[in-house]
Each structure stands twice: as C-alpha cells, then as structure tokens.
C-alpha cells in the first residue's frame, strides 16, 4: 500500500485557487524532492497535508495509510506520523521548549496508548535528540523559537522531528538560511530517520541539500500543478537551466 496518495487536489485561500489539480503518490522508503518557482504552491501543498485551517480543499482526495487524511484534524495527522518542518517556524513567547515538546511527545504517546514519560525520561530523550542536531542546551531552555536566529529555528525544527520520529516528514525549505555546517547537520538528522517504513517530501531551491539527502523522485510544481516528474537528473537540469523551460512548456 502507498503511504500517501494525492488525487486531483484543488485548494484555495481567501477565495483564490492556489492548487489546481495535484496528483502525487509516495511509497514507504521513498524520498521525494519538490521544486518550483516562488509562489508555485509548494508551501500550500504542505499546509493542506498537515490540515492548516486557513486553506480550503475544494476538490480531490488524499489517502494516508489508506485512510482519508482530509477527515483528520491537524493534531491527529501529527499523531499518525505526519511532520512538517515549517518554512517560517512560529514563535510562542513564554512557552518553554521543554514544556512544549513534553506536551507534544506525551500527546503522541497517549494516542498510541503508551504511558506518559516521566520528567527524567523525557529530559534524557531530549538530551539525546538535541545532540543529533547539535542544538544548544540554551536554546532548548528558551521559549519556543523566541529570539532564535533564522538558522537556529530551522535546526529546532529538525530537533522536533527527531523527537517525534515521523512516518512522513515534510521539509519546507529547511535548508534556506542554514550555514554549510548546519546544512550538513540537518541533512544528517533527516538521513538518520531514513527507513523502509518512512518517507520524506523535501521542498528546496538548492542543490546542496539534495546532494546530502539524495531523493529518488523529483517533482516540479508550477501554478498549482505538478508539471514535471523525474529522477535526480530533473533537479540537476533545474539547477543548470532554471525554470524558464518548465514555464514555457507548461503555458
């Protein structure tokens, strides 16, 4: 069974149609790169997959593990293993990372009929995962993303991903704004999660991340549709030639 099956997905925001018929199938173990010019609808797709209520699905269907994904509230999608590394992570003043992550982890555990982690167990887990992405302890003790630099926010997203061990992770431009070392650390965090059961969607504009993560499939989104499908060679052509040929072909 496929992990994710998107059929003819149309979605809009504020009455404006953004996605205009997306079809995409992802199987366990696969890594898919999604590329496309600014404003093509890539982040919108990730918002729809995670159930952001600001967007409306007007047509189409999404099956996740054979279930109707669109019928699930956002938190249940998370419990079922969908994780989004946000393009623009949100700051939540006054809420410590520790408290935030502990609530998240224990809500996941509750859904899976596991007992809540004790404070000690949780802190141990947090320390372990923090070291994976080399997230400074000082950051972990601060409020969620508050006052984090752009790169620190992205690293914090991958830290959360490591904590929640999702089945389907969606990385929306996680590489943007990262320095070379951070990029390697973040890619490493993603690669560690690779397994036969899991899959990833990696949205990016840059070659470097794809060199580390090595997607098997590449899709080009343009004006709310997937207009090109291919392997790594498709990404290389974009890096060499840009999107003009895609646009011309699509128009």
């Amino acid at each position: 069974m496929s992990l994710l099956e998107i059929h003819n997905l149309h979605a809009s925001i504020g009455g404006k149609e953004i996605l205009r018929g997306i079809d995409l199938t992802i199987n366990p173990g696969e890594i898919h790169a999604v590329m496309g010019p600014n404003g093509a609808g890539k982040s919108t797709l990730s918002a729809i997959l995670t159930g952001n209520p600001a967007y409306t699905v007007t047509e189409g269907s999404i099956l996740y593990k054979g279930k109707d994904l669109l019928a699930m509230p956002p938190e249940q999608r998370s419990w079922e293993g969908i994780f989004l590394s946000f393009q623009y992570p949100v700051e939540i003043p006054g809420v410590s990372m520790v408290n935030f992550m502990r609530t998240a982890v224990n809500e996941h555990r509750k859904y899976n009929n596991q007992p809540a982690l004790s404070a000690t167990e949780f802190l141990r887990l947090m320390r372990e995962k923090r070291s994976v992405v080399q997230l400074d302890n000082k950051l972990a003790n601060r409020s969620v993303n508050e006052g984090f630099s752009g790169g620190e926010k992205k690293r914090n997203e991958i830290f959360q991903m490591a904590m929640l061990e999702p089945t389907l992770s969606i990385l929306d431009e996680t590489d943007s704004g990262l320095d070379v070392d951070a990029l390697r650390i973040v890619s490493d965090g993603v690669n560690r999660l690779k397994s036969a059961e899991r899959a990833s969607i990696v949205i990016t504009h840059y070659q470097k991340l794809l060199e580390y993560i090595e997607p098997q499939f590449v899709h080009i989104v343009y004006k709310g549709r997937i207009v090109e499908n291919g392997g790594p060679e498709l990404a290389n052509r974009i890096f060499a030639e840009g999107f003009d040929w895609v646009k011309e072909k699509a128009e």
Partner: protein, 492 residues
C-alpha cells in the same frame, strides 16, 4: 477505533472538569438570622467577645454605609444585593478554647485536603515540602471563622504573629487598634464600609523589626454555608527591615445563588521593609449560562509608610462571577516601591474589573504595573488603573504594561488607565496591547500533536508567564493548572 475513543476521552475530561472545588462539606454550622441592622452587628461583636472600641468602629462604619449609594462606576453588572437575604455570620460549630490541630473538625481537615491545602504540620515537613521551598504556614478560614493556624509556635520563636483576626483582637489589642483602618479607613468606600461593619474573621500578621519571615504565610478562605456572605479582614504589618511573603487562596461550592464576598486587606510597611502579597482567586465563577457565582468586591491596599519600603502584589484571578478589585499602593516613603502583577481570566459570563492604583507621595518612589487580561466566552474583562504623582514627589518613575488577549469574538476587553501627574520630574511610561489568540501559533502546536484545548492552555500560560513567575514556587504550578482549567471550552 482508537481515534474516536481518544477524542471522546478528551471531551469527557473537558466537560466534567468545570469547577473542581464546587463540593460542599457537611459540617454543623451556626448561622445567625438573615438581614443587617445594628443588633446584628452587636451580635457579631458579642459573639467574638470584642472590646467596645471595636464595636464602635463597626457601628460607625455601618451608619456611614447606610447613607451611601451603591457604586456603579465599575464596568460590571452587579445585580442589586438584597442584604436582608444574607446571613452575616456563619461558623462551623466547635468546642471552645484554643485550637490545636487535634480539635479541628475532621470534616474540615478533609475539606482542605481535597482542596490540596495541608493542615498537618508534620505532613508538610515530611513529604510535601519541595527542594528549594521554605514551607508554609496556613490560616484556614471557613465562612466567618478561622479554623486553625499552623506553625504558630515556630513563628512565635521569631516574634512573628500569625493568627486569626479574632485571636489578634484578644491577644494583641494594642497592635490591632494601632493599625486597623489606618490604610483602608472604614469610610473609604461602600464595600469597605460594609466590611468594617460586619467583618467576621481573617488573618493578622505582624513581623517585628529586622525579621525575615522564613516561610510563606498563607490564608485559605472558603465559603461553605449557603446564603451567607464572607467578609474577612486581613491586616499585615511589617516593621522596620522586616520581610514577609503572604499568599491568599479562595474557593467556594457551586451554588445557584450569588454569594457575596467583600473583604478588606490592609498592609502597613515600615522603613526598609518588604511585603509580597500573592493571591490565587478561584471563587466559584457561576455556570456556563452565568447563573450563580461569587461577587468578589474587595478593597486591598498597602501603605508604604517608610523610606525604601516595598510592596509587591501578584494576583491570578480566575474565579468569581464578578470581580471588583484594585490592590493599591500608597507610596508615601521616599524611595519606596510598589509593584502590581496581575493575570485576570474571564470565561462564560464572568465579569472582572480589576487593576491598581499607584499613589506616589514620596520622593523617588517607583512603581511597576504588569496586567494581563484574558477574556473568553461572553465575558467582560477590564483593567482600571490610576497612577498619581503628588506635587512634592520628585523623581517618580512608573512603568505600566497592560495587555489583553481575546479568546472569543463575544468577549470584551477594556482598559481605563488614568494618570494624574502633578510633578514635572515624573517619568511615566504606559504600553498597552490587545490581541487575539494567534492562529499560526495554534496551528504550530496542532501540527506537533497538541490539540486545540491544550494548545490554547499552553499559549495562554506563556502569555501569563511573566506574572505567574512572580508567585511563590509552590503556587506557580497550581496557578498554571487553574489557568488552563478556567479557559477550557473557550476555543473557537
């Protein structure tokens, strides 16, 4: 299936956990006949074996009160109170004589246990005390009478007096007479006058010169009997160089009728002394349709009489149908300082009109006001504040920050800041914000598996953190829980 089961669990939890302190205790209670007149006041005073000057204090207040119109300036709708339907004195029946723990009615000990308040000193010492905390002494007040005060002996070794008001009148009449009504005069306002006429019990604290009180002092007020009002009187005196941290907590059973709570708190702070006063107010707020609930109409004021004296009010207000409360600071001493940290949460049909007054009389006096209003449901939440600088008060500084968070479209947030600056050297800053709960923050939480209820709880907790962090550690956690409880069912 798993998901339906878990979501119904959540629903159950939400709908059943409305007000967990709403139980009543079956204790034999002595209640005097309803209504208010001079005979009732004489009866209360006689029951408490008071000296004549105190009876005169009461009668004087009563006679003035009779002539006053009911104040209507608050942004709250107080239904007319029929004073003939209220009994002004109710007390659990008990034996005469000094109150040691063994003599306290076991039902009352159980009640306080249920409320999470330990009345056993030994328990406190053994298990409950956490690392880094200093423990606390508790004065437990049910309806009109104090039931027991813990750690009295240990405190007495340091010369600290911590007892019920009634006891203080008997044992330390001169101290009481010296300070009673000096910060909040009986004729201060309508409800203060009412309290001065009929107050029944409360706590008395005296910290002698140079003594740093080694533990938190706490009073717990509980209304139990029906058809009664609670009118407690608290008087705290910190002598030169003294320090005390004091906490007040309140709960009441769920009842359909509105119960009246009209308290007066007076704090007198001498040279270089410091008092921290923290309140977690959780009186019964009424049901979802606004039926029942406590009318919480209180006057709290501190007089920083001495130079370099300091008062800090911290309040977390989640309960009561109506709250009308302005813990104030009269900064008379030079270099004295007043602080007010407040979180007021209103849900359903609750109304809160709360804030502070900073009256700067002394030179170089400082004040700081941090107020966070959170309104949900159909509630109304107002901040009302006064910053006043007298002509002779040079070098005054004030900082006011006043934030409102709206959790629903049907609730209201209002601010009424008044400034009366009569000295040109004053530096007064005021910041105010009003915001709605941020949808992006909510979604971010949801995406991590934190459902809407928990997410709102977290975000509101973060919003209130600056204030909650000012509470003694023992109560900060409890206050956080209360905050999330009181905004349940408020999403959407």
């Amino acid at each position: 299936m798993q998901e339906t089961e878990s979501s119904s669990d959540v629903l159950q939890e939400i709908t059943s956990s409305d007000y967990k302190y709403g139980f009543t205790t079956d204790i034999e209670t002595e209640v005097i006949p309803k209504g208010l007149n001079e005979d009732v006041i004489r009866l209360i005073s006689a029951k408490k074996g008071e000296p004549d000057w105190l009876l005169q204090f009461r009668l004087d207040a009563y006679r003035w009160w009779l002539k006053q119109p009911v104040p209507t300036w608050g942004h709250v709708k107080v239904a007319p109170i029929d004073y003939d339907k209220i009994s002004f004195y109710a007390a659990p029946k008990k034996k005469e004589g000094p109150k040691s723990m063994d003599e306290v009615d076991p039902e009352i000990v159980k009640t306080f246990d249920k409320l999470g308040i330990p009345l056993h000193e030994r328990e406190m010492l053994a298990g409950v005390q956490q690392e880094g905390t200093t423990g606390m002494a508790v004065d437990a007040i049910v309806d009109s009478e104090s039931q027991t005060t813990t750690y009295k002996d240990k405190l007495a070794e340091l010369g600290i007096i911590f007892c019920s008001f009634g006891e203080a009148v008997k044992a330390y009449p001169d101290l009481v007479k010296k300070y009673l009504g000096k910060v909040v005069p009986p004729r201060d306002n309508y409800y203060a006058a009412l309290n001065s006429a009929v107050f029944s019990d409360g706590s008395f604290v005296y910290i002698p010169k140079g003594v740093h009180c080694p533990m938190e002092l706490a009073s717990y007020f509980r209304i139990n009997a029906s058809g009664t009002g609670q009118f407690e009187r608290t008087l705290i005196v910190a002598d030169d160089d003294a320090y005390v941290s004091y906490l007040e907590g309140c709960t009441a059973p769920m009842r359909d009728e509105n119960q009246l709570h009209a308290a007066v708190v007076e704090i007198y702070v001498h040279d270089h002394a410091e008092v921290k006063y923290s309140t977690v107010q959780n009186w019964y707020p009424g049901d979802k349709d606004g039926k029942g609930g406590v009318y919480n109409l209180v006057t709290k004021r501190a007089l920083c009489a001495g130079d370099f004296s300091k008062i800090s009010w911290t309040q977390v207000e989640t309960g009561s149908a109506i709250t009308w409360k302005y813990p104030s600071c009269v900064l008379k001493g030079n270099n004295s300082s007043g602080e007010f940290y407040s979180v007021a949460v209103t849900n359903n049909y609750q109304e809160a009109d709360t804030g502070t007054k900073m009256i700067h009389l002394g030179k170089n006096s400082k004040s700081r006001i941090i107020s966070k209003g959170i309104s949900a449901g159909h509630s109304q939440n107002s901040y009302r504040g006064l910053v006043k600088v007298a002509p002779g008060a040079d070098g005054v500084r004030n900082y006011t920050q006043c934030d409102s968070l709206l959790l629903s479209n049907t609730s209201g947030a209002h601010t009424f800041p008044v400034m009366d600056i009569q000295n040109p050297t004053a530096v007064v800053e005021h910041e105010a914000t009003t915001s709605k709960i941020n949808e992006d923050q909510l979604f971010y939480c949801n995406q991590r598996g934190i459902g809407p209820e928990e997410a709102v709880g977290l975000i509101v907790g973060g919003y209130a953190k600056e204030v909650v962090a000012k509470l003694p550690m023992e109560f900060a956690v409890e206050a956080q829980k209360l905050l999330s409880l009181s905004i349940e069912n408020s999403v959407g």
